[in-house]
């Protein structure tokens, strides 16, 4: 896998790429149908949908109905891709996704944009730190926390033809590019980004960039930290998680999500019976979100490279202070 990470930010925004990819998939596959709940303008699909009203369906501000309509379309053989903001794509429609999609066997892709602190100026009401936790409880659901543009494109391409409930969380702004353009990131396997002997950082989404920065800081501390991108939170690649945990003995999990129910929980569940590593977490400490710029929010909720470094150091050198 071609890693091009140098810490710099991609000039492309997720929202532009998301909108363009949906349109491309729709052009390539006549069964792809895109539904939105009055947030088309947020991912640049408004005009295209107006021109292609049977391919881009605006359901208005009625997320519950949108999920049901998508499931009805799935029952007619279509491959619906549903978009709204993360809080509405998860907690607002949980019963609809659980029953009309999951239980009823209607295969849909749900995209929740602006997960966690990415909700910035929409504030605490719009800041889902629980979306992954909710989706994890849906039997056989697939959950991906997107890291960069190439991964977004790759996962969307895969999602449209996969069975079941597929949830994708991604911001709308730009992020640090990790993978070379055109890289395929198969849903499932975790992706080691950096090898290390002393500790392993499991990260997803925007925290991959922070984890890689933390590993660099730790280098100066004389700590050799591995970084693994566990972008597929469900089904978790437990084998890779166990392998790195056994090798490094110290594990820090970091996610833009509540520490309850998300990647940290999934990793703990995978390692619970293994007794092979010490585990700690850099995630939201069971709090509600609040308003502000993303850099402020990452500080506020402890989601930075510095926090990861601190946590790793405490694991590796518990007696140092």
């Amino acid at each position: 896998m071609d890693i091009v990470y140098d810490g710099s930010m991609d000039k492309r925004t997720f929202k532009d790429v998301l909108g363009q990819t949906i349109q491309q998939l729709s052009g390539q596959d006549p069964d792809v149908v895109y539904l939105d709940a009055d947030l088309m303008s947020c991912i640049g699909t408004c005009q295209w949908s107006a021109e292609n009203p049977t391919r881009g369906i605006n359901c208005g501000i009625s997320e519950a109905n949108m999920i049901g309509v998508a499931c009805g379309l799935a029952a007619t053989g279509y491959k619906p891709i549903v978009h709204t903001f993360g809080p509405f794509a998860s907690r607002r429609v949980f019963d609809q996704v659980f029953l009309s999609a999951g239980y009823a066997g209607n295969d849909i892709t749900v995209i929740g944009t602006d997960p966690g602190v990415c909700a910035t100026f929409n504030g605490g009401t719009h800041m889902p730190f629980e979306d992954v936790a909710l989706y994890r409880t849906i039997p056989t659901a697939t959950i991906v926390d997107i890291t960069d543009v190439p991964m977004l494109v790759s996962v969307l391409r895969q999602y449209k033809d996969m069975p079941g409930v597929k949830y994708l969380r991604v911001g709308r702004k730009n992020s640090a590019q990790v993978f070379a353009d055109g890289t395929e990131t198969p849903v499932g396997p975790a992706i080691p980004l950096r090898e290390g002997a002393d500790a392993c950082i499991f990260a997803s989404g925007i925290m991959v960039h922070e984890a890689l920065q933390a590993a660099k800081l730790l280098e100066a501390d004389g700590v050799d930290a591995a970084v693994v991108n566990v972008f597929t939170i469900k089904p978790l690649d437990a084998e890779t998680v166990k392998r790195y945990a056994a090798k490094c003995k110290n594990v820090v999990v970091t996610e833009n999500h509540n520490r309850i129910g998300g990647l940290y929980s999934a990793v703990c569940e995978a390692l619970a019976r293994e007794n092979i590593a010490k585990i700690d977490v850099v995630a939201v400490n069971d709090e509600y979100g609040e308003v502000g710029p993303q850099d402020y929010l990452q500080q506020r909720f402890g989601l930075t490279a510095a926090h990861i470094r601190e946590t790793v150091l405490q694991l590796v050198r518990p007696d140092a202070r």
Binding site: A64, G68, C71, G72, A74, G77, A104
Partner: protein, 278 residues
Amino acid sequence: MPLNQAKQQELERFALEIRIGILEQLKARGFGHVGGSLSVADALAVLYKTQMRVDPKNPGWPERDKLVCSKGHAGPAVYATLALLGYFPYEMLKTLNQPGTCLPSHCDRNKTPGIDMTTGSLGQGTSLACGMALGERMRGRDTRVFLIVGDGEANEGQVWEACMFAAAKQLSNLVLLLDVNGKQLDGCTKDVLDTLDLGAKIRAFGFDTVEIDGNDVCALYDALERTRQGGDKPFAVVMNTVKGKGVPDVENARSNHSMTVPADQWAVWQSALIGRLG
């Protein structure tokens, strides 16, 4: 053309057989959603005998008309109808809610031949039916989607989201049958959460709407025939029904959403209906 007398008698007889089939299921377990199953028996009889293009030997036929029973607890009524039409053996009705059954309380498309959509969490079937109707239209099929919604179910906000969607997207291949039986689990709908004038509401939401006696096969037939005329609006048939219709003890019971009674009582009620078959 209105129903001739022979056809009317055939439909009434089929509705009676559906009611007998409902009791056949509930008798085996001793309890179940009797009231709301009996109230829609006549509608199901008219739908499956005069409106729906279906093939019991080929339940997955894409060109078939679809039924979404959004009040999923009326499963026993739909199961009785499907069994009588030959989707599965009548004997299977005895397995309602037994471990491993294909006939759970609430409709499940993955378990029962002929069930077109899974329902049970009230309100959700309305959106599913809208998606199906839209999908059928996008596929270029001349199929219709029939959607049964309860009046108690109309408490759910999702019902009205879906109604807005159906009208906005001009889903004229969607027929909503609203079962206004006047009762929900905790009592009369007007006491629990008054839905006021449902016909006026649905009309205001943009449906071509007729209001009829929903336990009268002739009225049902006339209303449903009208829905064939096309146009650019979805259709609504507001069916004023009696919860527990056909079994006087159930009709008169104060609480008849779900009833638990001894097997011999179910048998007495069933025998009375069988007696009316002649």
